[in-house]
């Protein structure tokens, strides 16, 4: 596997150079968003009017555990990915309208998004589901948060400052999805188990 270090904001050229299987170590800033935040971004928010910039940005499907310190700043306790498939309906708009270049999550997303990724130059990066401490170790700081009081802590948008955040490309801008490949291979094996019993 190739190992690539990238820093946000991501350029179209860097993202298009990525291929399924590449290890990507991300530095810079990622924005967490789950179900509620996706609906907000796509249905209510206006690109350019947010308190953060998503152009060339990275959206992380994550609802972190955080704790407010006595001085009012936030401490990150745990931050692993949530299941991305729940956000299938929204991610296309994030890429097309907001210029998001990478999604980090777990479990992969709908094959239909591969077309958008190819057209706009975007990728899906898998982080290890459940590995909330290994991943939190790559988060250096919380730069801010948005809508946390309104949506609740897990559903809010957290701006995380990361260094060498470990991911692997599992959907690229060339139409490949490791998730679809694993599903197809395991499906063939499943059929042999169902037919030969």
């Amino acid at each position: 596997m190739r190992e690539v270090k990238l820093t946000t904001p991501l350029s179209e050229k860097d993202v298009r150079a990525l291929e399924v299987g590449d290890r990507v170590l991300l530095s810079g800033q990622v924005v967490t968003a789950r179900d509620r935040a996706h609906r907000y971004l796509v249905e209510e928010a206006v690109p350019g009017k947010l308190p953060f910039d998503l152009a060339g940005g990275v959206v992380y499907h994550c609802g972190p555990v955080t704790r407010r310190r006595d001085d009012g700043t936030w401490e990150l306790i745990a931050a692993g990915p949530t299941t991305s498939a729940r956000m299938n309906a929204y991610v296309g708009a994030l890429v097309e309208r907001f210029g998001v270049r990478a999604i980090i999550g777990k479990g992969g997303m709908a094959a239909g998004l591969l077309k958008t990724f190819g057209e706009c130059g975007a990728v899906y990066l898998s982080a290890v589901g459940g590995a909330a401490q290994s991943l939190a170790a790559a988060v250096e700081r919380i730069d801010g948060c948005h809508k946390v009081d309104e949506f609740g802590a897990p559903e809010g948008l957290w701006l995380l400052g990361v260094r060498d955040f470990p991911t692997v490309v599992t959907m690229d801008a060339h139409g490949r999805s490791l998730h679809d490949e694993v599903e197809a291979t395991s499906g063939r094996q499943l059929r042999t188990f169902l037919d030969t019993a």
């Binding site: 745990a78 498939a85 992969g108 290890v128 589901g129 401490q133 599992t170």
Partner: protein
């Protein structure tokens, strides 16, 4: 004895310390995956994650789940025993009035209240993420308590001890749970154990990497929807080396462990040799018209623990 504190400690252990059998199974899985593959990277991160969580006293996973409690409370005295104790309070009798002092401290009215209070404290301490959302108002309660949250099953035991088994059930694994009503023509699944086998294979295939494999798979077969759903989830409490006392089910557990792993879904669903760490099956007598197969998934972060309290004190396992 402070019941609330003991349950907070139960929460800490569940949230921050992976059970030893699960850790051992993950380490064995790591050795099976080829170096340099996404599967091997994933399982190495999982093992490193377990070490960090334990050492730093932090949650293994940011989704600290929905807590599920299985409480066996001390046996209540019978009418005859109460009468005898009341009539002859000084005499040594066979039955010892259950010593409930260890269950109570000021403000604790019963076990349920103690669990709720411990849940609030565990949330404050950062062992739990606030996960309880009212589906009507969409408001997060902020402290992991709410209608039917946590889930608490209470039954009466046969001794004076209080035993609490609990798990933290993540939402990702909960979402990939599946239910089948047999026969199911699309799977070629009839109303028999082979039909059940087909359902479990199909459920694991459908789950892919969405619920954080390697999974622990709990299965229940029977004939009532509510009972099989609860029974399948309760199987996730069993240690990985536990085999069903029913010979046919024990055989099927082993066969399904082998077959689900040959699906090749792998750690994190990125392909690989370990998809499932254990398959645990239980049965409930079914209504003659019904044949349900319920499949409940535990993610690799299979967080479960036990607290036992008797007159001698608290035991954590």
């Amino acid at each position: 004895m402070k019941l609330v504190e003991s349950i907070v400690e139960l929460y800490r252990r569940m949230s921050c310390e992976l059970p030893v059998d699960v850790t051992a199974a993950l380490e064995a899985a790591c050795a099976r995956e080829k170096a340099g593959t996404p599967a091997r990277d994933a399982i190495e991160a999982i093992i490193e994650n377990g070490r960090l969580a334990r050492e730093n006293g932090r949650p293994i996973c940011q989704d600290t789940g929905c807590p599920v409690f299985y409480v066996v409370r001390p046996r209540a005295p019978s009418e005859a025993e109460i009468r005898e104790a009341a009539l002859r309070p000084q005499r040594e009798v066979g039955w010892q009035p259950v010593k409930r002092a260890h269950l109570k401290s000021p403000g604790e009215t019963d076990i349920r209240d103690a669990i709720l209070e411990a849940t609030r404290r565990a949330t404050e301490l950062g062992y739990l993420r606030p996960n309880a959302v009212d589906p009507v108002t969409d408001v997060n309660s902020g402290d992991n308590t709410g209608e039917g949250f946590p889930i608490i099953h209470i039954e009466e035991g046969t001794t004076g001890a209080l035993v609490i088994d609990a798990m933290l059930k993540g939402g990702g694994s909960e979402n990939v749970g599946a239910r089948y009503s047999l026969p199911d023509a699309s799977l070629g699944a009839g109303r028999d154990l082979d039909g059940m086998r087909r359902c479990v294979l199909d459920a694991v295939h459908r789950a892919q990497g969405r619920g954080c494999p390697p999974y622990v798979v709990g299965v229940a077969v029977g004939g009532a929807r509510d009972a099989t759903a609860a029974l399948a989830k309760k199987q996730l409490l069993r240690t990985l080396d536990d085999r069903s006392p029913n010979a046919a089910l024990a055989e099927l557990e082993a066969e399904l462990l082998e077959q689900t792993n040959r699906l090749g879904i792998g750690p994190a669903g990125l392909g690989g040799r370990t998809t499932v760490l254990g398959v645990k099956i239980a049965r409930q007598h079914r209504h003659c018209a019904c044949y349900f197969v319920e499949v409940s998934f535990g993610c690799w972060a299979m967080r479960r623990a036990r607290l036992a309290l008797d007159e001698y004190g608290a035991t954590h396992a």
